[in-house]
């Protein structure tokens, strides 16, 4: 019997082929496995309809991305959770996302909920893209050094509202109706700072604060009326309950000062409930599905058509932000050929992501998306007819 020892090269080749043979099904399986994408929005409670619209929009965007080949050649599947607009519930849902091993979480309607979820997702090394929540500490980097936000920030919005108040309305006596949380208080303090920066004389004649879930503002509005303001800024992110109620009751109270809605708060849900009371409201926003420049963006036209087909209505700004968040992540993951949190975040922060429904979206180094605001006045609340103010 003759025995022949195998050479090192043969052993190496054999081992390599063996490992390759054994590993191939695993690799193929891993590549074929869909990528899990998490969404955490309020699906119940005062912001439930808004959160549902965001979730629907991410689903529509996922189907569009899947139709074009997916991300890294893999399909996207959504795992959607309800944060109930409650930070403690949001934390639970964020932990569940970590357990589900999702590649990215798109979250955030309420700033306090986002602030509570950020550390949980950061510790689990999951990329966390904030779609809507506006509070400035979200991008401060303490809880999440790789934060990304699609919506405009309180800082950006503050200068727009201050410009409306001081330059367009020439308001000197200004009142505030502000949601008492990280979003509302932050937004008000930025508007005040921007008003002071503009250098025109102005006076804060009244401030009324209320919790997120409040729907009866009659006592607060009586105080507002007594203060005789030229303009009143309403900062309320409960666009399916509190904000329309506030606008209706504002009209019923017969307050003469112009009602100015904080940036991005005058959504279709507000028109649907408040109706005619909306007439005369002045505000600004960063997205209108059927107005320039968005009606000329190919990706937006496709998205609006797909959303309308699926849900029989136009997507609102919140929905667009949710969809854009997924597009931004998918584009960055495909560009970097990676799902790694830091790699993907680095391809977004401080960079321009092309081809989203919001056009080519540029991000500041801290992860904040840059937008151009459109200032408008509601000329007919019943038909939701807007006049764009140049």
């Amino acid at each position: 019997m003759s025995s022949k020892l195998l050479g090192r090269r043969q052993v190496t080749m054999g081992a390599t082929m063996g490992v390759a043979t054994l590993a191939t099904p695993l690799l193929v399986r891993a590549q074929e496995q869909p990528i899990k994408v998490g969404t955490i929005f309020p699906l119940s409670g005062p912001a439930g309809p808004n959160g549902q619209a965001c979730t629907h929009a991410v689903q529509v965007a996922a189907e569009m991305i899947n139709a074009k080949g997916g991300v890294l050649g893999r399909k996207i599947v959504l795992v959607s959770k309800d944060d109930e607009s409650t930070p403690a519930v949001g934390v639970t849902r964020a932990n569940e996302m970590a357990n589900e091993k999702v590649a990215v979480v798109i979250e955030g309607w309420n700033s306090p909920v986002t602030l509570a979820m950020q550390p949980v997702l950061a510790r689990a090394d999951i990329l966390d893209i904030t779609a809507v929540s506006k509070a400035d500490p979200i991008l401060a980097g303490q809880a999440n050094p790789f934060a990304v936000r699609i919506n405009s920030s309180n800082g950006q919005d503050g200068s727009v509202i201050a410009d409306i108040l001081a330059n367009r309305l020439n308001a000197k006596r200004i009142g505030f109706l502000s949601q008492n949380d990280a979003y509302g208080n932050g937004a008000q303090s930025v508007i005040e700072a921007e008003l002071t920066k503009l250098g025109k004389p102005w006076e804060k004649v009244v401030t009324e604060q209320f919790p997120f879930k409040q729907t009866d503002f009659r006592v607060s509005l009586a105080n507002v009326k007594q203060a005789k303001p030229d303009a009143v800024v309403a900062i309320n992110s409960a666009e399916s309950s509190g904000m329309p109620a506030l606008i209706q009751q504002y009209r019923q109270a017969g307050i003469e000062g112009t009602l100015v809605g904080a940036v991005g708060t005058i959504l279709p849900t507000v028109f649907r409930i408040a109706g005619e009371a909306m007439t005369g409201v002045v505000s600004a926003d960063i997205y209108f599905p059927d107005l320039p420049p968005f009606d000329g963006i190919k990706e937006n036209i496709e998205f609006v058509a797909a959303y309308k087909k699926a849900h029989n209505e136009l997507p609102d700004k919140g929905a667009a932000l949710g969809a854009a968040a997924l597009e931004v992540w998918a584009s960055a993951a495909n560009t970097t050929k990676s799902l790694d949190r830091k790699t993907v975040a680095a391809a977004i922060r401080g960079k321009t992501v092309p081809g989203t429904i919001l056009g080519n979206l540029t991000f500041a180094a801290n992860g904040q998306a840059q937008h151009k605001d459109t200032v408008f006045k509601v000329v007919d609340g019943k038909t939701a007819k807007l006049e764009v103010l140049k």
Binding site: E84, N95, A98, N99, P119, V120, P137, A143, A182, N185
Partner: protein, 323 residues
């Protein structure tokens, strides 16, 4: 002999409880659920002391819970204190608040007691909302991982599997404390003051002193739960004062039955397991919780234990009339 067996059995159960997350699969979800249940159960035990032994419904225990969370957050983030020091701070702050609130409510009973404690929680929340030292409406972010150095070793961590041993220890220490309290002079005096105030007075028990002592004793329990919760979440905000936690702690106590050592733990576990693993959506969960609570209070005011008693009585044969 029986006592020795009971102690051994309790120790065995406590030891087995430690392995529940690993027996449940050892997945992060199991550690998350178990750690959260342990923390929230300890929170509920604070309120249980007042509800079960004084017979009063404290709507202000979120103040102590939040005091623990805020103490941990402020002392760790602003001053870099370790976990032992922040726990000490949480206990001291809660004791101060409890003394003030306890003295203020010394003469109040039932509805007025509940109303005053609720008002205290509202005032505390507004202060936290508007005081920048406490983070204002933004809360406190960037809480570091829990650090508990002991004899050259370091305990603690940031993830739920790292925090589970601490949560388990805190829960076991709380159970032992409640067990001892029930047999203590203060515990029996409190029950006597609740059940038969005239007898208590006749026996020389100072009812007001007992009420104050029980109230003050309960505060650090909820505060220590808030302390650990701050490290689990790495963020503390004014939501710690919200009704979510208040409803959770009161429901956890009454759902199983008052004055039961394991009542708040089982109640918390039932609620969290339903919310985490059998959720039917936010609105649905609230409807289920509300309906179950209403049904239990209406049908079996003693809690699920009352229901079990009813079943046991039905199975027991009716006494025979020998005449």
């Amino acid at each position: 002999m029986i006592k020795r067996h009971a102690t051994s059995f309790a120790l065995l159960l406590a030891g087995l409880a430690y392995f529940v997350p690993s027996v449940a699969g050892g997945a992060p979800a199991a550690y998350t659920a178990c750690t959260t249940i342990a923390i929230l159960a300890v929170m509920a035990y604070g309120a249980d002391l007042v509800l079960s032994y004084l017979g009063e419904v404290s709507l202000g225990h979120t103040v102590f819970w939040a005091a623990g969370g805020y103490s941990a957050a402020i002392l760790a983030v602003n001053y870099g204190w370790n976990g032992w020091a922040t726990a000490g701070g949480a206990v001291v702050v809660s004791l101060v608040f409890a003394c003030l609130l306890g003295l203020a409510t010394l003469r109040t009973r039932e509805f007025v007691f509940s109303l005053v404690t609720y008002a205290a929680a509202v005032v505390a929340m507004e202060i936290a909302f508007n005081w920048s030292y406490l983070g204002g409406s933004d809360g406190v972010v960037g809480i570091p991982p829990l650090d508990l150095p002991l004899l050259g070793w370091k305990f603690g961590g940031a993830t739920n599997d790292e925090l589970w041993p601490i949560a388990w220890l805190l829960l076991m220490a709380t159970l032992l404390f409640i067990h001892r309290f029930r047999r203590s002079r203060l515990g029996t005096s409190a029950l006597m003051v609740q059940m038969n105030p005239d007898l208590a007075t006749a026996l020389g028990v100072d009812a007001r002193r007992v009420r104050l002592a029980v109230f003050v004793t309960s505060a650090p329990i909820s505060a220590l739960a808030g302390w650990l919760y701050a490290y689990q979440r790495a963020y503390v905000g004014t939501d710690m004062f919200e009704t979510y936690f208040l409803v959770l702690m009161l429901t956890a106590i009454v759902i199983v039955g008052r004055r039961l050592l394991l009542g708040p733990l089982i109640g918390t576990a039932l609620i969290i397991v339903q919310q985490n693993f059998f959720s039917i959506g936010g609105d649905g969960d609230k409807i289920v919780l509300g309906a179950v609570l209403a049904a239990i209070l209406l049908l079996w005011p003693k809690g699920l234990v009352g229901f079990l008693d009813l079943l046991a009585n039905r199975r027991r044969p009716a006494p025979q009339n020998e005449d």
